[in-house]
Symmetry: C2
Subunit: 706 residues, 2 copies
């Protein structure tokens, strides 16, 4: 056992302690009540998690902390159609009971109908216009091709393709008075396949809740942009948050069942224009529904009333620790959010139950091996307020920035563990080899079972399509609790889950019944995730030399730089003709090369540290810290253009692609559209060249600080 300083190879033994039937039972109990952030149920849920964690026997300590964060607590949503004869027809916003879905019976007890977090409160009555997905391009087509004005209208858009907050923002910028977002069956309903309860896709009455806060502008609690939401902290008043962080116009989500009369009204209005592009056409075209997706304006008017209340509500995070035996001051984190929009069967509680199983397994393991402790500390976090705006994790990260920066080796994020059957992972390139190693060895089920006795690698389509081709993992985006760790504090982070055919996102039907009846009846996918994540965490905590690979990072930088070069070459003459840009790109190329050149020697050092004959705790620590610092040095103090809170120069969340990622975000900011600017792009290139070189210097120990 040379890889660790333990006689037990916990990471490979660990899997045997996972019991999928427990995940089943835990998931059921933890999704029996709604547990939305900012409600008493959320506090109860957090306390329940704390009790459960304590009961596993895995942890040395469990604490609960809270941050008072600004949210809009929903009161009610009222949507009415004012027909041509003047009658008001109120839409029934209930999603409805499904017999085989136990918790759907409890819909009457929910705190509020489906709503948007951070929607502007207000009442508006206006004609409707349909704007497809709500891209800037969709609005341009409406204006210039269909010649339809959005001003003062209620804009109906379909979910998908880009972050919902941006849809509302684009509508607001076009002059809309209000917004309705609906789930079109072409995107996640019957056009994709069987709908729930028969299959995984979204039924007609199902609604997608969600936050409309402009997450790239405002991170975490919008009332505390400059620091943690501690007692007495300076607060930005709500009046300054609206319009800057959140929309000024009311918005609400509806089902396609409720969108249908509106779409029909758009079709039948005399003045309504045809769709300016085929891309506007959704899935309700067949004879059963006969919608042609005309864009309006409608003749009828729609009344939208959003009632909510801005409050500072406590967000409850639960944190559990296993103190490391040799390096207690270095920690591996596993985070999952516990707050859900409704019952959270998949999102997030499939993750919560999976983390709990990892703890149960660890508890069993520790009972059998009482003298064992991980080399490094393990920290488990159950975050609150993620659905609103990653509130619990962000405020915690802002508060503990110094210590996290000094001591966290890696942050693993497990939001929804199972929402499909395809293994999906995004992360810092540094995790590539370790993930490949682990998924090769995790085999679940047997022939005939859902997982079929396959390895997780077998269930990872991206492996062939991306990872093997490129040599690194898909990069980490936004949309969950890794943001403050990776994009603000420069902690190497990774996010995992099973994804795929899934349509009940953020609705009543994201429930235990859905997970147990449709998504993962044998809980083998949950089991697989528990094993992969548990092994990942334990490998990073146990290996003497932190098993995070610089080589993949070097490869990533090199390939991504090539892509950037091609993009710049195609971006237009102002870029091709800029000598400043050319000079800085040359320097960036040199830095990336230096980073790559530093790797082999560093790798050799880690090999010599690995073999016990050369082992010396501080020698190994010094090398391992360089792996941490290599990622930390990629931060720029000034932050990214347009969003200075975000500090990582290499990657950032890309909201224009619905939780995707953006590489060299600062540089790309100045490459397209209105912001095209070769000089400013060159400055961003210089900043990236500088941080990459510093990162290389850390590896090379050329950095004189060493």
């Amino acid at each position: 056992q040379h890889r660790t300083d333990s006689s037990i190879d916990v990471s490979s033994l660990f899997g045997k302690f996972i019991r999928s039937e427990e995940i089943d039972v835990d998931l059921k109990s933890m999704t029996s009540r709604e547990h939305m952030a900012g409600t008493n149920n959320s506090k109860r849920h957090a306390e329940y998690i704390r009790e459960l964690w304590e009961s596993t026997g895995a942890l040395d300590s469990v604490v609960m902390e809270s941050f008072d964060c600004g949210i809009t607590r929903p009161i009610n949503t009222i949507i009415e159609l004012r027909l041509e004869n003047g009658t008001l027809v109120k839409l029934d916003l209930a999603e409805g009971t499904i017999d085989s879905d136990a918790t759907s019976q409890l819909e009457d007890e929910l705190s509020a109908p489906a709503f948007h977090g951070y929607a502007a409160a207000g009442k508006v009555e206006a004609q409707v216009v349909y704007a497809n997905y709500g891209f800037e391009e969709d609005f341009r087509l409406l204006k210039e091709k269909a010649k339809v004005s959005v001003k003062g209208k209620i804009v109906l858009m379909r979910y998908g393709k880009l972050f919902r907050g941006l849809k509302v923002q684009n509508a607001e910028r076009a002059g809309a008075a209000g917004v309705l977002l609906y789930s079109d069956p072409a995107d996640d309903g019957f056009v994709r396949g069987d709908v729930y309860p028969k299959g995984p896709w979204r039924p007609d009455s199902s609604v997608q809740r969600g936050s409309v806060l402009y997450a790239s502008q405002c991170a975490g609690d919008p009332s505390t942009p400059d620091g943690p939401s501690v007692h007495g902290a300076p607060r930005v008043p709500y009046s300054e948050i609206v319009g800057k962080c959140t929309p000024s116009i009311p918005s609400a989500p509806i089902s396609w069942k409720n969108a249908l009369p509106i779409l029909r009204a758009l079709d039948s209005a005399e003045a309504s224009k045809p769709a300016p592009s085929k891309s506007f056409v959704g899935g309700l075209t067949d004879s059963s529904y006969g919608v042609t997706y005309r864009v309006g304006p409608s003749q009828i008017r729609v009344s939208l009333e959003v009632q909510n209340e801005y409050v500072l509500a406590p967000m409850y995070n639960v944190l559990g620790t296993v103190h490391g035996r040799i390096e207690p001051d270095r920690a591996v984190w596993l985070g999952n959010h516990h707050d859900a929009w409704v019952f959270g069967g998949g999102d997030p509680t499939s993750g919560t139950a999976t983390v709990l199983q990892i703890l149960r397994a660890l508890g069993r393991f520790r009972e059998l091996h009482p003298s064992w402790r991980p080399r490094r500390s393990l920290v488990f976090a159950a975050w609150d307020g993620e659905e609103y705006n990653l509130l619990g994790s962000t405020e915690h990260g802002e508060m503990h920035a110094s210590t996290i920066s000094a001591s966290v080796v890696a942050y693993l994020n497990l939001d929804t563990a199972v929402a499909g059957h395809e293994f999906s992972v995004q992360g810092s390139p540094i995790f590539t080899e370790l993930v490949k190693e682990i998924v090769k060895d995790v085999k679940v089920g047997s022939s005939g079972s859902t997982f079929g006795g396959n390895t997780v690698q077998d269930k990872w389509p991206s492996y062939e399509k991306f990872v093997k081709l490129r040599g690194y993992l898909p990069s980490l985006g936004g949309g969950s609790d890794q943001v403050v760790f990776q994009h603000r504090l420069g902690v190497s982070s990774i996010s995992l889950g099973f994804e795929g055919s899934h349509g009940v996102y953020h609705s009543l039907y994201d429930s235990y019944s859905y997970q147990a009846n449709v998504m993962d009846p044998t809980f083998e996918y949950h089991e697989a995730m528990a094993k992969v994540v548990g092994m990942l965490m334990l490998r990073i905590a146990e290996d003497r030399v932190v098993p995070l690979g610089i080589k993949s990072y070097a490869h990533f930088l090199s390939k991504e730089l090539q892509e950037l070069e091609m993009e710049i070459a195609a971006a237009g003459s102002i870029f091709l003709e800029s000598s400043v840009l050319k000079a800085e790109m040359k320097r960036l190329g040199a830095s990336v090369k230096n980073f790559g050149d530093a790797e082999p020697a560093f790798h050799d050092l880690t090999l010599s540290a690995g073999s016990s004959s050369v082992e010396s705790p501080l020698f190994v620590r010094e090398l391992n810290d360089r792996i941490l610092l290599a990622e930390r040095e990629l931060l720029v103090a000034r932050g990214l253009p347009g969003r200075p809170w975000f500090k990582h120069a290499i990657c950032a969340p890309n909201f224009a692609t619905d939780y995707g990622t953006e590489i060299f975000p600062g540089i790309r900011y100045f490459l397209q559209g209105d912001r095209s600017n070769a000089t400013l792009a060159a400055e961003e290139v210089a900043l990236v060249a500088d941080v990459v070189q510093r990162s290389a210097d850390v590896l090379n120990r050329l950095d004189v600080i060493q």
Copy 2:
């Protein structure tokens, strides 16, 4: 030898290797030419330092780095008096040759006459008004009591009491068109004692150069407020720097010899008002000069023309490293700036020569003990551009923020080593016990010699007057290269020097001859400084448990909080009546108490780590890192009100007192004058309560991140 893991007690043996005669020789050779930042001489000087450092044999590596920083390179200064008959009398700005001062013979070769760094270029001719030291209060007295308007005038002020940049800023705000600053003999000339060459005080023709940049507004290179001045970095154009970072009105420094005709003109003008306060009266009142310090306006006009050129000029830092044997990834730094306004006999080259002597001694030591290496790394830095605005150190600190934060245990600053005979030290309270221990043991000279065989403690008047009474060192202010380390990056820092009767600051006469003939003929004060600083550095580098004491920090926080409470009690009813402020002060009190309560247990842990039987490298490392982190956690990401670049919540530079310090600066910002605001003060109290608690948590290992 239990305190370290070496068989040699280098810190106590080290002193024997110090040779004061070498400091003498080195000082002479390094001050033979002017070496101002942004000139070729500065580069040559840096290269010379690098060669000298390499020749000592002490260092494993020496590198030179450069940053292109925005400075105003001086071209010329022309000051003329337009007499009533219209004649123009040009002032001779030369300071003049003094026979016994060798380098004063070279005045003709200097790059420019005395000037202000970052002065606004321009020409102004106007009547003169005298505004004493240039406090806001002085301008108020002028306006309301003397009923004299400053608008469109050239304001003559005397140096002293507050940072020169603030004098110019206050004049500009009062509507002045230009500024002349002169050195009044009451402040640092004949009123204080014998003037040079007979004694240490300022002769009549001597001029004080210096920067007028608003250092609290703009740190380091004013063209790169958001990050390091790396190649291609985004730059703020000069037009946006003037008025924001630097004055918009021209200013220049003059001697009292040149101020005299102006003061006399003020006295003789019919419309000239008497001084509104006795505080306006300087030292030229006796019959020889007969100045009454009337405030004007003068009848004559003065023409001030400042010619300079804003350029990006390279700043050359030299960095030398001795790699630590056991903990190479922890470092103790010793910094000194190498750029001078002219020859820099005292400022800074007495420090440069002292650092060089420390290296020479270390080289001799290493030759005798070739297997010895310090436990932790030693890093020596010779900074450029300090005089302009701490340029070299600040840009370096901004560039290497991550690694410095991760690895620097302490930063020691030695600017001017000898400018008087009183030992002076300011620093984080954490250094208190160590400094007391060291100064007790450093004895220099013999009875009859300048130092007299006394200990450095004997030469430390503040010891009895402050340190013994309060239990901690005077806090660290601004004005030299510790700023980026202590106030931005949260690295425990300390600044030392001998101060006292000294009047040639920033003039031609701050020369080798001055140091050797008047200030320290036997170089015993230089020797004492070399020993104290060397021992300080080596103790921190060698001791197994970092010898920086939390107890003094706890004591400091507790006492300073009491003072703050008294200040608030006296600040007015809005503060006494604020329940929010009361609540937050209570929480701050609780945090401070928690910090104090954490200390004994932490201390016991360090004791057990100290004794070799419990020694385990990572155990000790974890404890030592808590000492670092305790200081780091005192940073607030949002920075201080009005100056967000400054991040330390506990102390900051206080420019209103000429390089002094301010404790709880964020809170105090809202306690006085126009800014009085109990609600905002309460918010700042909350931020401080939060960081102090986090610091306590680090010590207590309650912080779950551990």
